[in-house]
């Protein structure tokens, strides 16, 4: 679909992110699945108010690292995480931290749209209800509406909020999942290849949405499309075989990569 990119093809906007604070700080993160050493010694600072893209060939550990950030790896029995990950300076792997509480702060959108078998309204209201974020129905209605608006879905579904969420099209379902994730008012939003199951139009809508979300959340997006990374992110991290090879300003990664492996990847020689 997308051919190798020439560096000169990529237009990079002016990006000023250096004055943002670090939201998440990862140091020396290692992940093992049983004996498989899937992630090796990763150090990254995820900045607040920034879209950070993780790119790299498949199997290189992007999803694994993303899932470390909200402790979703806890649900995989064979997974073992070593190292330090701080959210606003607090270690999220500390014994006192409840992973359930953490995941309310660090929301996640998955590769395949996974709306619950409930109405559109109940899908979005799910998080606020279980976390008790609203005091009454009117407030809940308001949250549902504003999240659906933020996810650019409100106009399409406002007349059928009680219809099942599973009846929407693929792109609508993914935007519903985004609305559902932001309804818990997270501070960080993790997205694992959120557009890989979508057609180009739906992809464009979601990308536009991601750019708007940046004002309120830190967004981390895993993508296999370098064009997408270039379009939506300000910072890019390149993973290869479980190593974080290079991390920097998106513009710099795409126009002037320091590591030869990064250059090979973005020009289409490895992948």
């Amino acid at each position: 679909m997308e051919g190798p990119i020439q560096m000169k093809d990529i237009h990079i906007e002016e990006r000023v992110v250096s004055d943002h604070k670090a939201k998440i700080t990862a140091r020396g993160v290692q992940v093992y699945y049983g004996t498989n050493h899937a992630l090796k010694d990763v150090d990254v600072d995820i900045l607040a108010g920034t879209v950070t893209a993780f790119i790299g060939p498949s199997g290189c550990g992007k999803s694994t690292f993303l899932r470390c950030l909200n402790r979703m790896n806890d649900t995989v029995s064979s997974a073992r995480v070593v190292g330090e990950i701080l959210l606003d300076g607090e270690d999220i792997y500390d014994k006192r931290v409840d992973p359930v509480q953490l995941r309310a702060k660090v929301g996640m959108v998955f590769q395949k749209p996974n709306p619950f078998p409930k109405s559109i309204y109940d899908n979005v209201a799910y998080g606020p209800k279980i976390h008790g974020l609203t005091r009454n129905k009117a407030e809940l209605d308001e949250v549902v509406e504003s999240c659906l608006r933020k996810a650019a879905l409100w106009n399409e579904v406002k007349d059928r909020l009680q219809a099942p969420g599973t009846g929407l099209s693929g792109g609508q379902q993914q935007r519903l999942c985004i609305a559902r994730a932001i309804a818990t008012s997270p501070e960080v939003l993790l997205m694992d290849e959120p557009c890989s199951a979508l057609d180009p139009i739906a992809t464009a809508q979601v990308e536009e949405l991601i750019d708007e979300l940046r004002s309120q959340f830190s967004v981390v997006i895993v993508t296999h499309s370098m064009q997408q990374a270039a379009r939506v992110s300000q910072k890019t991290a390149f993973f290869h075989l479980g190593n974080l090879v290079e991390y920097g300003e998106t513009g710099q990664i795409f126009t002037n990569p320091k590591d030869p492996r990064t250059e090979s990847y973005i020009t289409g020689r490895i992948g």
Partner: protein, 486 residues
Amino acid sequence: MTVLVLVVATLVIAGVGFFLGRSRALSGVSGNVRDLHSLPGYYGWHVALMAALPAFGVLLVWLIVQPIVIERNIGSLLPAETVADATAFKLAVADIRRVAGGLDAAVLAGALTEASAAELTSGGTDVRAVLAGVGVALGSDVTNDTLLSAQMYRSMTATGALARMIAVLAVALAGLGYALSVTRAEFRARNRVEIVMMGVLITASSIAILTTVGIIWSMLSESLNFFRQYPATEFFFGLTWSPNFRGGSDLGFIPLLWGTLYISLIAMIVAVPLGLFTAIYLAEYAGPKVRAWVKPLIEVIAGIPTVVFGLFALVTVGPFLRDYFAQPFGFGNSGASVMTAGLVIGILNIPFISSLADDIINSVPQSLRDGSYGLGATKSETVKQVILPAALPGIVGAVLLAASRAIGETMIVTMGAGASAKLSLNPFDAMTTMTVKIVGQLTGDTDFNSPETLVAFALGITLFVITLGLNVFALYIVRKYREEYE
């Protein structure tokens, strides 16, 4: 030629046909397989199927039709008044069959020659003694009519068997010849075999359907017979059940319906939560090691025969409930009670519900769990709000299946709840169900034509309608709540 030999002979013809067909196809293209439309084996199969299937069809029809034809014909030798009365005629035919079978046995044992068996007369020989000598005991002396009819029956059966053999083998050979004659390189043997396979599969599935139709038909005809002798309104709305084989019975089915529903209700109150919680624990909480132990242990319950459960109800649960609940709280002093049977049937149904529900919960996609955990939901919130709704259609189906089983349970009710029909709200009273009464009314030496016996069929068909209704309702629920998720 017996039927078995005939079947084997047909199969042999088909087997030969397979090789003939294959080699004919191959020789038609001088061994060059690529010039054939289908692989050589398909030509062989085509010939074999064409030889065997029509021949088996003829054999099957023959086996069904011949006894009917013979029965018609032997009627001609019986007195007219016997033929006119359906019951008497049936008895006479049964007698004739017995005598004919006895003669067969006598010939086989060498007590009679084939010729003497055909010429025997009741005046000349004591047929009863001869047959008793080869182990066929008859209730009375053989009348001349019966003996003549039996001889005619034998000769017709023998002629029929000969004709049957000729017909079946002829059809098999004709099929073989036809299939060989069409075997040419461009013949689409593969497609033809495909069509025949489809036919075989359709036949297989229609046998199940036809059986069901047959069951309903026989139940219906006997039930209609019952309703001709006993008013339907009194059966469906009658509040007392007291059959009396000397006549003048009250056959109201409401007490039985009530007992059935009450016991099933208690069983489901026990089985649904316990089974469902077990399934949730196994599917969502238990580690692989615990699961590997607990699941088979629970399923052991399903392997225990219900009569053993009945004993448990009779000697343990019943007396326990009576001594510690019913008597102290003044609910009566019956060991057999609705509560006893309901509890035990409920326990019996736990593994049934838990293993079905476990499979259903496991089939809920992992992505839904991830989605819920990713929003900061706990395990129980995820189970309650995401997994159970997603699994609901299947679970409702499982519960209704279990309910049908509870309604149909007989042994445990007989031993746990007793056999006295009663309309009462007290769960510590002895009551009984429709299935128990179906068995009860049909066992024992009774006239098969009285309302007291035939009521079993009316009960049977009512039970069938109830479980059918339950299943239709289950399907409706499943459709209504089905969500397309992937």
